[in-house]
Amino acid sequence: MDKNHQSEAVQSEVVWHLLTVVGEDRPGIVAGVTASLYEGGCNLGETSMLRLGGLFTIMMMVSGAQSNEALEAVIQPAVKKFNLRVHVDKTEARLHDHKIPNVQITIYGADRAGIVAETVAALSDSGLDILDLNSDVAGSVEKPVYILMIDGDATQGLDHLKESLASLENKGIEISLTPLETMVG
Protein backbone atom coordinates (compact mmCIF):
# COMPACT_ATOMS: atom_id res chain seq x y z
CA MET A 1 0.00 0.00 0.00
CA ASP A 2 1.53 3.34 -0.96
CA LYS A 3 1.52 6.40 1.27
CA ASN A 4 -1.52 7.98 -0.39
CA HIS A 5 -3.62 4.87 -0.08
CA GLN A 6 -2.58 4.47 3.52
CA SER A 7 -3.66 7.98 4.39
CA GLU A 8 -6.96 7.46 2.53
CA ALA A 9 -7.55 4.31 4.53
CA VAL A 10 -6.79 6.10 7.79
CA GLN A 11 -9.08 8.98 6.79
CA SER A 12 -11.95 6.69 5.89
CA GLU A 13 -11.90 5.19 9.39
CA VAL A 14 -12.38 8.59 11.02
CA VAL A 15 -16.04 9.38 11.73
CA TRP A 16 -16.96 12.97 10.82
CA HIS A 17 -20.04 14.92 11.83
CA LEU A 18 -21.34 18.28 10.74
CA LEU A 19 -22.30 20.11 13.90
CA THR A 20 -24.64 23.11 13.60
CA VAL A 21 -24.93 25.38 16.61
CA VAL A 22 -27.13 28.47 16.86
CA GLY A 23 -27.65 30.86 19.74
CA GLU A 24 -28.05 34.47 20.71
CA ASP A 25 -24.81 36.31 19.97
CA ARG A 26 -22.90 36.61 23.24
CA PRO A 27 -19.21 37.02 24.03
CA GLY A 28 -17.48 33.67 24.55
CA ILE A 29 -19.70 31.42 22.39
CA VAL A 30 -16.90 30.31 20.08
CA ALA A 31 -14.51 29.75 22.97
CA GLY A 32 -17.20 27.84 24.90
CA VAL A 33 -18.16 25.56 22.00
CA THR A 34 -14.61 24.79 20.92
CA ALA A 35 -13.50 24.18 24.54
CA SER A 36 -16.32 21.64 25.06
CA LEU A 37 -15.32 19.82 21.88
CA TYR A 38 -11.62 19.82 22.71
CA GLU A 39 -12.20 18.62 26.27
CA GLY A 40 -14.49 15.90 24.88
CA GLY A 41 -11.67 14.57 22.70
CA CYS A 42 -12.99 15.96 19.40
CA ASN A 43 -11.09 17.61 16.55
CA LEU A 44 -12.27 20.28 14.14
CA GLY A 45 -12.19 20.23 10.35
CA GLU A 46 -13.44 23.12 8.23
CA THR A 47 -15.86 25.52 9.89
CA SER A 48 -18.02 28.54 9.19
CA MET A 49 -18.96 30.82 12.07
CA LEU A 50 -20.73 34.10 11.63
CA ARG A 51 -23.22 36.51 13.10
CA LEU A 52 -26.53 36.56 11.20
CA GLY A 53 -28.78 39.26 12.58
CA GLY A 54 -28.70 38.86 16.36
CA LEU A 55 -27.83 35.17 16.23
CA PHE A 56 -24.42 33.60 16.17
CA THR A 57 -24.31 30.62 13.81
CA ILE A 58 -21.68 27.91 13.77
CA MET A 59 -21.29 25.03 11.35
CA MET A 60 -18.29 22.85 11.91
CA MET A 61 -16.87 19.54 10.77
CA VAL A 62 -16.04 17.55 13.90
CA SER A 63 -14.25 14.22 14.24
CA GLY A 64 -13.70 12.13 17.33
CA ALA A 65 -17.30 11.34 18.35
CA GLN A 66 -18.57 7.93 17.30
CA SER A 67 -22.29 8.81 17.10
CA ASN A 68 -24.67 11.78 16.89
CA GLU A 69 -25.68 11.20 20.52
CA ALA A 70 -22.05 11.09 21.70
CA LEU A 71 -21.35 14.44 20.01
CA GLU A 72 -24.48 15.99 21.49
CA ALA A 73 -23.30 14.86 24.93
CA VAL A 74 -19.84 16.34 24.41
CA ILE A 75 -21.26 19.76 23.50
CA GLN A 76 -23.64 19.88 26.51
CA PRO A 77 -21.52 22.16 28.77
CA ALA A 78 -21.56 24.92 26.11
CA VAL A 79 -25.22 24.30 25.26
CA LYS A 80 -26.22 24.84 28.89
CA LYS A 81 -23.99 27.87 29.43
CA PHE A 82 -25.06 29.74 26.28
CA ASN A 83 -28.56 28.32 25.74
CA LEU A 84 -27.69 26.96 22.28
CA ARG A 85 -29.64 24.88 19.77
CA VAL A 86 -27.74 21.99 18.23
CA HIS A 87 -28.15 19.85 15.14
CA VAL A 88 -25.87 16.99 14.13
CA ASP A 89 -25.42 15.26 10.75
CA LYS A 90 -23.05 12.49 9.86
CA THR A 91 -20.80 13.47 6.96
CA GLU A 92 -17.90 12.34 4.80
CA ALA A 93 -14.77 14.42 5.35
CA ARG A 94 -13.72 15.20 1.76
CA LEU A 95 -10.94 17.40 3.05
CA HIS A 96 -8.00 18.50 0.87
CA ASP A 97 -10.20 18.80 -2.19
CA HIS A 98 -10.98 22.52 -2.56
CA LYS A 99 -12.40 23.70 -5.86
CA ILE A 100 -10.93 26.95 -7.12
CA PRO A 101 -13.59 29.48 -8.20
CA ASN A 102 -13.16 31.05 -11.64
CA VAL A 103 -15.73 33.80 -11.27
CA GLN A 104 -16.90 36.22 -8.65
CA ILE A 105 -20.34 37.76 -8.88
CA THR A 106 -21.54 40.75 -6.89
CA ILE A 107 -25.23 41.56 -7.02
CA TYR A 108 -26.95 44.40 -5.22
CA GLY A 109 -30.14 46.38 -5.35
CA ALA A 110 -33.05 47.71 -3.32
CA ASP A 111 -34.28 44.84 -1.16
CA ARG A 112 -37.42 43.19 -2.40
CA ALA A 113 -38.99 39.73 -2.36
CA GLY A 114 -37.42 37.31 -4.81
CA ILE A 115 -34.10 39.05 -5.39
CA VAL A 116 -32.03 36.02 -4.35
CA ALA A 117 -34.31 33.39 -5.89
CA GLU A 118 -34.41 35.13 -9.28
CA THR A 119 -30.70 35.78 -9.56
CA VAL A 120 -29.59 32.41 -8.27
CA ALA A 121 -32.03 30.62 -10.61
CA ALA A 122 -30.60 32.50 -13.59
CA LEU A 123 -27.05 31.68 -12.50
CA SER A 124 -27.81 28.04 -11.87
CA ASP A 125 -29.53 27.64 -15.27
CA SER A 126 -26.44 28.98 -17.00
CA GLY A 127 -24.10 26.49 -15.37
CA LEU A 128 -22.84 28.26 -12.26
CA ASP A 129 -21.68 25.94 -9.52
CA ILE A 130 -21.84 28.07 -6.33
CA LEU A 131 -18.85 27.47 -4.07
CA ASP A 132 -19.36 30.29 -1.59
CA LEU A 133 -22.27 32.67 -1.16
CA ASN A 134 -22.85 35.29 1.44
CA SER A 135 -25.32 38.10 1.55
CA ASP A 136 -26.06 41.11 3.70
CA VAL A 137 -28.89 43.51 4.22
CA ALA A 138 -27.35 46.98 4.32
CA GLY A 139 -28.77 50.50 3.99
CA SER A 140 -31.36 51.72 6.48
CA VAL A 141 -34.65 50.42 7.87
CA GLU A 142 -36.53 52.65 5.42
CA LYS A 143 -34.33 51.86 2.44
CA PRO A 144 -32.82 48.39 2.82
CA VAL A 145 -30.24 47.31 0.26
CA TYR A 146 -29.58 43.66 -0.52
CA ILE A 147 -26.01 42.67 -1.34
CA LEU A 148 -25.06 39.22 -2.54
CA MET A 149 -21.56 37.99 -3.22
CA ILE A 150 -20.82 34.66 -4.85
CA ASP A 151 -17.63 32.78 -5.68
CA GLY A 152 -18.37 30.10 -8.21
CA ASP A 153 -17.29 27.83 -11.02
CA ALA A 154 -18.78 28.86 -14.38
CA THR A 155 -19.01 25.36 -15.84
CA GLN A 156 -20.42 26.56 -19.19
CA GLY A 157 -18.13 29.57 -19.55
CA LEU A 158 -18.41 33.22 -18.59
CA ASP A 159 -20.14 34.45 -21.75
CA HIS A 160 -23.04 32.13 -21.15
CA LEU A 161 -23.32 33.42 -17.59
CA LYS A 162 -23.22 37.08 -18.71
CA GLU A 163 -26.03 36.53 -21.21
CA SER A 164 -28.28 34.95 -18.64
CA LEU A 165 -27.73 37.83 -16.23
CA ALA A 166 -28.44 40.56 -18.76
CA SER A 167 -32.20 40.07 -18.37
CA LEU A 168 -31.96 40.80 -14.64
CA GLU A 169 -30.28 44.17 -15.05
CA ASN A 170 -33.50 45.79 -16.23
CA LYS A 171 -35.10 44.84 -12.94
CA GLY A 172 -33.13 47.33 -10.85
CA ILE A 173 -30.42 44.90 -9.83
CA GLU A 174 -26.76 45.81 -10.31
CA ILE A 175 -24.61 42.87 -11.27
CA SER A 176 -20.86 42.69 -11.70
CA LEU A 177 -19.14 39.60 -12.87
CA THR A 178 -15.37 39.36 -12.44
CA PRO A 179 -13.35 36.49 -13.92
CA LEU A 180 -10.98 35.17 -11.28
CA GLU A 181 -7.46 34.36 -12.44
CA THR A 182 -5.75 32.68 -9.52
CA MET A 183 -2.06 33.48 -9.34
CA VAL A 184 -0.11 30.42 -8.21
CA GLY A 185 3.52 31.12 -7.29
Partner: protein
Protein backbone atom coordinates in the same frame (compact mmCIF):
# COMPACT_ATOMS: atom_id res chain seq x y z
CA UNK B 1 19.37 19.44 -14.42
CA UNK B 2 16.72 18.29 -12.02
CA UNK B 3 13.26 18.98 -10.72
CA UNK B 4 13.76 19.93 -7.07
CA UNK B 5 11.50 19.10 -4.13
CA UNK B 6 9.24 21.96 -3.07
CA UNK B 7 9.03 22.76 0.65
CA UNK B 8 5.44 22.92 1.83
CA UNK B 9 4.04 24.71 4.85
CA UNK B 10 4.18 24.01 7.89
CA UNK B 11 7.88 23.54 7.10
CA UNK B 12 9.46 26.30 9.23
CA UNK B 13 12.14 26.92 6.61
CA UNK B 14 9.56 28.76 4.48
CA UNK B 15 9.48 31.49 7.14
CA UNK B 16 13.24 32.04 6.96
CA UNK B 17 14.60 35.17 5.17
CA UNK B 18 17.01 34.58 2.27
CA UNK B 19 20.45 36.12 1.73
CA UNK B 20 21.61 38.21 -1.26
CA UNK B 21 23.50 36.39 -4.01
CA UNK B 22 27.14 37.46 -4.19
CA UNK B 23 28.81 34.81 -6.35
CA UNK B 24 27.67 34.75 -9.97
CA UNK B 25 29.29 31.47 -10.88
CA UNK B 26 28.57 28.12 -12.54
CA UNK B 27 26.81 26.87 -9.38
CA UNK B 28 24.38 29.76 -9.68
CA UNK B 29 23.52 29.08 -13.34
CA UNK B 30 23.13 25.37 -12.63
CA UNK B 31 20.81 26.09 -9.73
CA UNK B 32 18.74 28.52 -11.82
CA UNK B 33 18.27 25.85 -14.52
CA UNK B 34 16.96 23.47 -11.86
CA UNK B 35 14.70 26.16 -10.42
CA UNK B 36 13.23 26.82 -13.89
CA UNK B 37 12.65 23.13 -14.45
CA UNK B 38 10.94 22.86 -11.07
CA UNK B 39 8.63 25.78 -11.85
CA UNK B 40 7.76 24.36 -15.27
CA UNK B 41 7.01 20.93 -13.76
CA UNK B 42 4.57 22.38 -11.22
CA UNK B 43 0.85 22.62 -11.91
CA UNK B 44 0.02 26.08 -13.30
CA UNK B 45 2.71 27.96 -11.41
CA UNK B 46 3.70 31.37 -12.86
CA UNK B 47 6.51 31.97 -10.42
CA UNK B 48 8.93 30.39 -8.00
CA UNK B 49 11.42 31.60 -5.40
CA UNK B 50 14.66 29.87 -4.40
CA UNK B 51 13.65 29.34 -0.73
CA UNK B 52 10.72 27.22 -1.93
CA UNK B 53 13.29 24.59 -2.92
CA UNK B 54 15.36 24.93 0.26
CA UNK B 55 17.94 27.37 -1.15
CA UNK B 56 17.96 30.56 0.89
CA UNK B 57 19.24 32.96 -1.75
CA UNK B 58 17.42 36.00 -3.20
CA UNK B 59 16.47 34.55 -6.59
CA UNK B 60 13.03 34.53 -8.19
CA UNK B 61 11.58 33.47 -11.53
CA UNK B 62 8.34 34.92 -12.87
CA UNK B 63 6.72 34.05 -16.19
CA UNK B 64 3.10 35.03 -16.73
CA UNK B 65 3.09 34.27 -20.47
CA UNK B 66 1.09 31.01 -20.08
CA UNK B 67 -1.72 33.03 -18.44
CA UNK B 68 -1.46 35.74 -21.12
CA UNK B 69 -1.75 33.08 -23.84
CA UNK B 70 -4.72 31.48 -22.12
CA UNK B 71 -6.50 34.85 -21.89
CA UNK B 72 -5.82 35.43 -25.60
CA UNK B 73 -7.30 32.03 -26.50
CA UNK B 74 -10.41 32.82 -24.46
CA UNK B 75 -10.55 36.36 -25.94
CA UNK B 76 -10.39 37.77 -22.45
CA UNK B 77 -8.47 40.88 -21.44
CA UNK B 78 -5.36 40.01 -19.42
CA UNK B 79 -4.98 42.74 -16.83
CA UNK B 80 -1.22 42.52 -16.64
CA UNK B 81 2.10 43.48 -18.11
CA UNK B 82 3.95 40.56 -19.66
CA UNK B 83 7.75 40.57 -19.79
CA UNK B 84 7.98 36.86 -20.58
CA UNK B 85 10.41 34.86 -18.47
CA UNK B 86 12.16 36.98 -15.85
CA UNK B 87 14.98 35.50 -13.83
CA UNK B 88 15.78 38.07 -11.18
CA UNK B 89 18.57 38.09 -8.63
CA UNK B 90 18.54 40.28 -5.51
CA UNK B 91 15.28 41.98 -6.57
CA UNK B 92 14.24 45.18 -4.80
CA UNK B 93 10.92 46.98 -4.99
CA UNK B 94 11.76 50.59 -5.88
CA UNK B 95 8.18 51.85 -6.13
CA UNK B 96 4.68 50.53 -5.56
CA UNK B 97 1.30 52.16 -6.01
CA UNK B 98 -2.39 51.33 -6.13
CA UNK B 99 -4.17 48.43 -4.47
CA UNK B 100 -5.82 45.45 -6.13
CA UNK B 101 -7.40 42.37 -4.63
CA UNK B 102 -7.13 39.01 -6.36
CA UNK B 103 -6.89 35.36 -5.59
CA UNK B 104 -3.58 33.63 -4.94
CA UNK B 105 -2.37 30.12 -4.38
CA UNK B 106 1.11 28.79 -3.76
CA UNK B 107 3.11 25.69 -4.68
CA UNK B 108 4.18 25.64 -1.01
CA UNK B 109 0.59 25.78 0.33
CA UNK B 110 -1.36 23.02 -1.47
CA UNK B 111 -5.17 22.98 -1.67
CA UNK B 112 -5.80 26.55 -0.57
CA UNK B 113 -6.43 29.83 -2.37
CA UNK B 114 -7.48 33.18 -0.93
CA UNK B 115 -7.86 36.86 -1.68
CA UNK B 116 -4.79 39.01 -1.19
CA UNK B 117 -4.38 42.77 -1.62
CA UNK B 118 -1.27 43.92 -3.51
CA UNK B 119 -0.14 47.15 -5.18
CA UNK B 120 -1.28 47.26 -8.82
CA UNK B 121 1.86 48.87 -10.28
CA UNK B 122 5.42 48.30 -9.12
CA UNK B 123 8.95 48.88 -10.29
CA UNK B 124 11.66 46.40 -9.51
CA UNK B 125 15.42 46.71 -9.67
CA UNK B 126 17.29 43.43 -9.93
CA UNK B 127 20.34 41.78 -11.43
CA UNK B 128 20.24 39.28 -14.27
CA UNK B 129 22.36 36.13 -14.35
CA UNK B 130 24.90 38.19 -16.36
CA UNK B 131 25.00 40.76 -13.56
CA UNK B 132 23.29 43.46 -15.61
CA UNK B 133 21.03 45.73 -13.63
CA UNK B 134 17.43 45.78 -14.82
CA UNK B 135 14.63 48.17 -13.91
CA UNK B 136 11.24 46.69 -14.72
CA UNK B 137 7.75 48.08 -14.40
CA UNK B 138 5.09 45.45 -13.73
CA UNK B 139 1.34 45.78 -13.58
CA UNK B 140 -1.57 43.67 -12.41
CA UNK B 141 -1.10 39.90 -12.47
CA UNK B 142 2.64 40.12 -13.20
CA UNK B 143 3.16 42.62 -10.36
CA UNK B 144 1.23 40.26 -8.07
CA UNK B 145 3.41 37.28 -9.06
CA UNK B 146 6.56 39.35 -8.51
CA UNK B 147 5.46 40.52 -5.04
CA UNK B 148 4.36 37.00 -4.04
CA UNK B 149 7.82 35.66 -4.95
CA UNK B 150 9.70 38.53 -3.27
CA UNK B 151 7.64 37.81 -0.14
CA UNK B 152 9.11 34.28 -0.13
CA UNK B 153 12.61 35.86 0.00
CA UNK B 154 11.54 37.64 3.20
CA UNK B 155 10.01 34.50 4.75
CA UNK B 156 6.44 35.64 4.08
CA UNK B 157 3.61 33.58 2.59
CA UNK B 158 0.34 34.77 1.03
CA UNK B 159 -1.27 33.33 4.18
CA UNK B 160 0.24 36.36 5.98
CA UNK B 161 -1.75 38.73 3.75
CA UNK B 162 -5.22 37.20 3.32
CA UNK B 163 -8.23 39.47 3.35
CA UNK B 164 -11.71 38.10 3.98
CA UNK B 165 -14.37 37.84 1.31
CA UNK B 166 -16.63 40.04 3.42
CA UNK B 167 -14.01 42.77 3.55
CA UNK B 168 -13.69 42.58 -0.23
CA UNK B 169 -17.45 42.84 -0.50
CA UNK B 170 -17.57 46.10 1.48
CA UNK B 171 -14.82 47.65 -0.62
CA UNK B 172 -16.45 46.66 -3.91
CA UNK B 173 -19.87 47.94 -3.04
CA UNK B 174 -19.14 51.05 -1.03
CA UNK B 175 -15.99 52.41 -2.73
Amino acid sequence: MAVLDILTYPDARLKQPSLPVDSFDKNLTNFIHDLEQTMDAGPGGVGIAAPQVNKFLRIIIVDVSPMANMAKTKKRRFKSSNHGRLILINPEITSASGAEVAREGCLSVPDYTANVERPGVITIRAKTVNQEIKNIECKGFEARAMLHEIDHLDGKLFLDRIISTRELFRRKVYN
